[in-house]
């Protein structure tokens, strides 16, 4: 498929995932604050901004970290590409650019999601019933993902869309954990159980976690689950394996060697990782290394498939 289209689809996937993850994160943070008594509000909100790498962007627009300001900034503010509304707008704009590659049902889901989030009264709804609002974003994004999964042929358009989602999700999970990780082996780790619970909730992992480890929540197990669970669709390892599968399935065969190497390296590192060791050596550094690895994969996907530079002779299609 056209490089430009592949790029648009990849980024549509990333933006969709970004909108969904941001909604999840804000939802659990908001309710976590309510349940936890609310005294830690500025710190929890600051953690959200840090996780999204948006602290400085936020500070250039708002003076104080308040719940209302963070919400406005991460949900409705369209002056940067990471707010929920901006991400959905861009996903839809990208979808419009590649409209002929999308099934009608997928486009409808994307377009109605966009229209729905911009309908009148959404700002009021967000203020009055934040949970309803975030739930709406989440289920809308899942509707889009479902429409893609159920109506798109397993060809490059679908694969690039999914690659975007997987890359964004893997990176987001790393970022979330990395913000929380400094507390993983501190003295008050067990007082912080509440926050690890919020974390699991944010990625819909609480139930799966409980089935695997039971109700007891420890930082080490949460880390293990969200990074290394081979069977949970939002764990980092699961996403990486998905990325490998999708790249392998692209028409024209296996990905470029450099991309494949980068991917195998980071996946192997995780697969042979021992959690106790990970905590000993410093979870922050390990997560940061993984996050950088994922960012590198994203860059290599871009240079390998989207760059419009000269292309090797052997790829030229010959007339028959």
């Amino acid at each position: 498929m056209l490089s430009r289209h592949a790029e648009d689809l990849f980024w549509a996937g990333r933006y969709l995932e970004r909108a969904e993850d941001t909604a999840r994160l804000l939802d659990v943070t908001y309710h976590g604050l309510l349940e936890g008594g609310g005294s830690d509000a500025p710190m929890a909100l600051q953690e959200v901004l840090d996780a999204l790498h948006l602290s400085s962007a936020f500070r250039s627009r708002h003076r104080k970290v308040t719940a209302a300001a963070v919400e406005q900034f991460l949900v409705l503010d369209e002056s940067h590409s990471s707010s929920i509304v901006a991400a959905i707008s861009r996903a839809r704009e990208n979808g419009r650019n590649v409209r002929e590659h999308l099934s009608t049902e997928l486009w409808e889901a994307l377009n109605t999601t966009y229209l729905d989030l911009r309908a009148e009264g959404r700002a009021e709804e967000l203020a009055a019933h934040p949970h309803e609002f975030y739930r709406r974003v989440r289920s809308r994004c899942q509707l889009v993902a479902g429409a893609a999964s159920e109506t798109m042929a397993r060809r490059d358009a679908w694969r690039f869309l999914l690659l975007g989602r997987l890359v964004e999700r893997a990176e987001m999970t790393c970022r979330l954990l990395r913000v929380r990780a400094p507390r993983a082996n501190g003295d008050d780790a067990h007082d912080d159980i509440h926050y690890w619970l919020v974390m699991l909730n944010a990625v819909s992992a609480l139930e799966s976690y409980a089935r695997r480890f039971g109700a007891e929540i420890t930082p080490a197990r949460v880390l293990e689950f969200l990074v290394l669970a081979p069977d949970f669709p939002r764990s980092v390892l699961f996403c990486l394996r998905g990325i490998e599968t999708q790249l392998g399935g692209l028409e024209g065969g296996v990905a470029a060697p450099a991309l494949r190497r980068a991917l195998s390296r980071i996946r192997a590192e995780l697969e042979y990782q021992d959690v106790a060791e990970l905590l000993d050596r410093g979870a922050v550094a390990a997560l940061e290394r993984t996050r950088r690895g994922i960012a590198e994969i994203s860059e290599r996907i871009e240079s390998c498939y989207f760059a419009n530079g000269p292309i090797p002779e052997r790829h030229v299609y010959e007339a028959v």
Binding site: L2, S3, H5, H101, G252, V316
Partner: protein, 486 residues
């Protein structure tokens, strides 16, 4: 006046498509009126909401340049379809095929023939040479089957007698076919009972016909499955929705100029698997922008080197370059003569009576009664720049007169056609609104006419301006199958 419990309709001046002079429903509209009369006001409103929701959900929109209100507007379709009986359509269909055939012969004669029509004085040579649509660089470029204008949109109107007349030819990049297909899909969903009462000729085979036509102009060496792409100026073009729609239906890539490159006079697309050869380009980019190396160097929309690939015969282009000379409004008055010249037949569909302002006596006659005529710039499309005499101010007419005297070649004047009207829902009531019709004709190995076409509606009472860029609406257009009334 037609009345029933819930429905009343008062016809306007001129020809009404649905009722006769005594305001009785024409036979092929009888079922429609009955069905409409059964709709309560609330039911009608709910169906209009359903229609708007369908178009919104699908994102069926168009852009209006210079409109601050937003990038996209939802497509306006009236719930009352236009109905054309089979017998009436048979004549229109033959007339359209005849006209497009002759126009393509004319184009082939100009660009790869001996310009016989000019030599024999059918069309004045200077009109062709001074036409903005005449592309010198295209002389000598051959097109298989002579399908130079592969997709034509011929605008028809019906005069006060109900005679179909050609108002203008659109031979460059005519748009609107996607709305024909989407109107049909939407109306069938919103008014299923009404659709079921009629035997309507389908339109959804358009994409298959278009693909066959496009593949028929591929370079011969390519073989049986040529790669077709749709070339769009991009997302900011007013017809972008249609470009994406067609690409999707054709199963073709929707490319922009920057996605293509030319090497060794061969066109390639930049893909995730490297460069892949392109065999046929269905372009929706104007001539002047198509190859910045030959035409406008500032164009970002085209493909440098495309002309070389065309000359080498390595790629097919539809519509081919230079079709604009044949839809130049100054050439339009000569089309009936061209039909006679190339086909030896009389034109089945007459033109609208037109003054040739570059002929002294006709100019004098026209200037004497400008306030009764329609004055059109020869090179514009989309309804831009048109002056309607009876509705213009003295000042506007004076400006118009000066411009004509200054450059008579740049204008034509036509008799004002009292466009036919059609019942149209306006605020929940049926009112007459003026309409036209743009049928679509495909050339290639053979000529294909799509049944019906895009009916455009002037939504303001009494207005004759139907262009969607100027606030026009649309109607689904039904051509009935089989014998009339059947």
């Amino acid at each position: 006046m037609l009345t029933s419990d819930r429905l009343s309709y008062e016809r306007a001046l001129g020809f009404d498509e649905a009722v006769d002079a005594q305001c009785r429903p024409r036979p092929h509209y009888a079922a429609l009126f009955e069905e409409m009369a059964r709709l309560s006001a609330a039911e009608l409103a709910s169906r209009e909401r359903l229609r708007d929701a369908i178009f919104q959900r699908l994102g069926i929109t168009f852009a209006v340049y210079g409109d601050a209100g937003g990038l996209e507007r939802t497509w306006p379709m009236d719930l009352v379809p236009r109905i054309i009986p089979a017998g009436e359509w048979a004549i229109v269909e033959r007339g359209l095929a005849q006209r497009v055939k002759a126009l393509n012969l004319f184009l082939d004669d100009l660009y790869t023939g001996e310009a016989a029509a000019l030599r024999d004085g059918i069309v004045p040579r200077r009109l062709v040479l001074s036409s903005e649509g005449f592309v010198r660089a295209a002389v000598g470029i051959r097109v298989p089957h002579g399908a130079r204008c592969l997709v034509a949109g011929i605008d028809l109107v019906r005069d006060a007698d109900g005679t179909y007349r050609v108002l203008e030819d659109n031979l460059r990049v005519p748009s609107g076919i996607s709305y024909v297909l989407e109107n049909r899909a939407a109306l069938t969903r919103v008014m299923p009972a009404l659709s079921a009462l009629h035997r309507i000729r389908p339109v959804h085979h358009y994409a298959a016909s278009l693909l066959a036509s496009l593949q028929s102009i591929a370079p011969r060496a390519v073989g049986s499955n040529p790669r077709v792409v749709v070339l769009t100026p991009g997302i900011f073009n007013s017809a972008y929705f249609e470009h994406a729609f067609l690409a999707r239906q054709l199963g073709a890539e929707l490319v922009e100029g920057r996605d293509l490159l030319v090497e060794n006079h061969t066109v390639y697309a930049r893909t995730t698997q490297g460069l892949e050869r392109v065999d046929v380009i269905y372009r929706r980019v104007d001539d002047a922008f198509i190859d910045p190396a030959v035409f406008r160097p500032d164009s970002m929309l085209g493909v440098p080197g495309l002309m070389g690939a065309l000359r080498a015969g390595n790629v097919g282009l539809a519509n081919s370059l230079g079709c604009g000379v044949a839809d130049d409004k100054a050439i339009y008055p000569y089309v009936p003569a061209l039909i006679r010249y190339y086909l030896g037949e009389d034109a089945i569909l007459p033109n609208v009576d037109t003054y040739l302002l570059w002929e002294d006596d006709q100019r004098e006659a026209a200037l004497a009664r400008l306030d009764q005529l329609v004055i059109k710039p020869v090179a514009a499309s989309g309804g831009y720049g048109i002056v309607i005499g009876p509705q213009a101010t003295d000042e506007q007419l004076e400006i118009c007169r000066k411009e004509i005297e200054c450059d008579p070649r740049a204008w034509i004047a036509q008799e004002l056609v009292q466009l036919s009207s059609h019942p149209t829902f306006v605020d929940g009531r049926l009112e007459p609104r003026h309409i036209d019709l743009r049928p679509f004709v495909l050339a290639g190995e053979r000529i294909t006419v799509i049944p019906g076409g895009l009916t455009r509606v002037a939504l303001r009472r009494g207005s004759f301006v139907v262009n969607s860029s100027q606030g026009g609406g649309s109607k689904d257009t039904w051509v009935l199958a089989g014998p009339e009334g059947g």
